[in-house]
């Protein structure tokens, strides 16, 4: 296997002295689908926000695609090719599906106002329109391409949210609870979509998820967090029989397991 695309080393974050994530280290290979699970309050979301630069780390390093991205802002991380999606359907509600996707494809090129003056903007803008059409087909949104995003059913809004991220041509996707708010059929569809994204675009995915069954179905490897610490890093089968993981889920809030 080649050099990992994400390398997290000793990542720590404290909120006013209270540790939320402690000394977490893991790597993620290219084109891997890696799941992150853990009981409520285990630090999954914090870990996610640390990797994407939404909040600064107290200690530790993050490397992405051979570059040290520790301390980078979310937009810098995004422009390097690591794009995240959100737990709730996060789209531009008042714009059409097509425009949503176009923005996803274009905004990386015009990250700063001064970049609007570059000659390549016209070319990027044309490419963004094409990319939007491509994704409308890929995601099966042809029949609603001209509808306002906010008028779509929730499941489709989540798919559109993923589409915006995909439009930005990421090297790596980070997905925050892709199945949250979806019914079982939609959850299955989402899982298949993630697999298709890897197969057709060669994009690896790190996903945080509550739905353990979905993670085990979709991911080739799973890491488990508890109280901000990494307690397991293994294949789905091994995870299911890991006593420490069972303890974490049964000992804490059982509601999610």
């Amino acid at each position: 296997m080649s050099v990992p695309i994400i390398e997290v080393a000793g990542l720590t974050r404290r909120f006013g002295g209270v540790p939320a994530v402690t000394e977490v280290s893991f790597t993620c290979a290219r084109q891997e689908i890696l799941g992150i699970i853990g009981p409520n309050g285990a630090g999954k979301t914090t870990l996610f926000n640390l990797i994407t630069g939404s909040i600064p780390a107290t200690a530790g390093q993050i490397h992405f695609d051979g570059r040290d991205i520790t301390g980078s802002s979310p937009d810098q991380v995004a422009r390097l090719g690591m794009i995240r999606t959100f737990q709730a359907a996060t789209i531009f509600r008042h714009e059409t599906v097509r425009e949503n996707l176009r923005r996803g494809a274009l905004f990386g090129h015009i990250g700063r106002p001064s970049w609007l003056l570059r000659g390549s903007v016209r070319e990027a803008s044309r490419a963004a329109r094409e990319r939007a059409e491509e994704l409308i087909d890929f995601l099966g949104l042809v029949d609603c391409a001209e509808q306002e995003g906010g008028n779509l059913p929730y499941g489709r809004q989540k798919i559109l949210g993923l589409g915006i991220a995909l439009a930005a041509r990421p090297k790596q996707l980070l997905m925050d609870e892709p199945a949250a708010g979806l019914n079982p059929a939609e959850t299955r569809e989402m899982g298949e979509l993630i697999e298709r994204i890897r197969a057709e675009f060669g994009i690896g995915v790190v996903l945080v998820e509550h739905d353990v069954a979905m993670v085990c179905r979709t991911c080739s490897r799973i890491i488990v967090l508890n109280y901000g610490k990494l307690i397991a890093n293994a294949s789905p089968d091994e995870i299911r029989s890991n006593p420490e993981v069972i303890e974490a889920y049964l000992g804490g809030d059982v509601e999610d397991a």
Partner: protein
């Protein structure tokens, strides 16, 4: 066809003072041009979702900068005028990175305090700004040695300034820049997650808005040839907001319509200034309560209704269904 109509209207707008040279009406035309530009600068701020009370100060900075540049440094008018806007934009660029981190009510209060500090500086630093008495004898604009003295000439200047401001702001809204700032206002988290450096975009909008206010101030100074700090206090940005609310915030036409309607009001009710202010207040309340999209919004709704009446009837049922779905999605 539309272009021809626009040209015809513009020619008409430009020509009337030369045919009907009534000082009072021409003056009103000049003030309308000024307030169109000022209201457009506030529209940019409202577009990024921030209510700024610092815009009176930015106007003042432009006015004093241009006036002092011509009076004290003998800089030719065109350069002084340009430097007025740049002075305001530079101050905005200086304070913006800090101010723009703050949102909503707090931003409004922060800019309010900043505006007061700037105006108090004009009052207190008498040697430079002339204190409460302000500056007298600011030279009238001149270009290539020709001084602009006639009122219609001023009116042409004002008209050009307003039209250029409008074109610039509209171009911004229709450009990729416009798409970015609407995206940021709509959903900043998402916009940043796909690679937009939101603080810089917000700063750019803030600086451009300040520059527009600064140029308006410079124009105001050289038109009246007299400025004093009180013109740049709290009520100036409030007026800009009033114009926007009445005209409608969602389109650059809003500030234009608002200014054209509101600026003549003081003149119509000239003998009773209190009634003018009273009608401002009452109009504002009525619009906020019943016409939150302003006059432009109202016009659009009427046009939409007219179109809807002509198209198929079945759409209303589809719309209802859509509303239901939306509710379910939100739940």
């Amino acid at each position: 066809m539309r272009l021809a109509a626009a040209v015809l209207i513009l020619v008409g707008l430009a020509a009337w003072p030369f045919i009907y040279d009534q000082p009072f009406y021409v003056h009103m035309g000049v003030m309308m041009g000024l307030w169109v530009a000022l209201a457009l600068s506030m529209n940019l701020m409202l577009r990024i979702g921030q209510l700024s009370f610092a815009h009176g100060a930015f106007m003042g900075l432009g006015a004093y900068a241009s006036a002092l540049a011509t009076m004290r440094l003998g800089i030719p008018f065109p350069i002084a005028f340009l430097s007025g806007g740049l002075a305001a934009a530079s101050v905005a660029a200086l304070v913006g990175p800090i101010f723009l981190r703050i949102r909503g009510v707090y931003f409004a209060l922060l800019t309010f305090a900043f505006g007061e500090v700037v105006v108090l500086t004009f009052v207190e630093w008498v040697e430079v700004f002339g204190g409460n008495n302000g500056l007298f004898g600011i030279p009238k604009p001149s270009l290539f040695g020709l001084q602009m003295t006639s009122r219609p000439a001023f009116y042409l200047f004002a008209l050009t300034f307003a039209v250029l401001s409008f074109i610039a702001v509209r171009a911004i809204y229709n450009s990729q820049f416009g798409a970015v700032i609407t995206s940021i206002d709509d959903n900043e988290m998402l916009t940043r997650s796909i690679g937009i450096d939101a603080p810089r975009y917000r700063l750019a909008a803030f600086c451009f808005s300040a520059a527009l206010a600064g140029w308006s101030g410079a124009f105001y100074a050289h038109y009246l040839t007299f400025i004093s700090p009180e013109a740049f206090g709290f009520w100036t940005p409030v007026n800009m907001v009033v114009i926007n609310v009445l005209g409608g915030i969602a389109s650059p036409w809003g500030p234009v319509v608002g200014a054209l309607l509101l600026v003549p009001l003081p003149e119509i009710l000239r003998d009773a200034k209190e009634y003018q202010v009273l009608s401002y207040g009452i109009l504002l309340m009525i619009f906020l309560l019943f016409l939150p999209d302003g006059l432009v919004g109202l016009a659009r709704r009427w046009r939409g209704r007219w179109r809807a009446a002509r198209s198929a009837e079945g759409r209303s049922a589809a719309g209802l269904e859509q509303g239901k779905r939306e509710k379910r999605a939100a739940a």
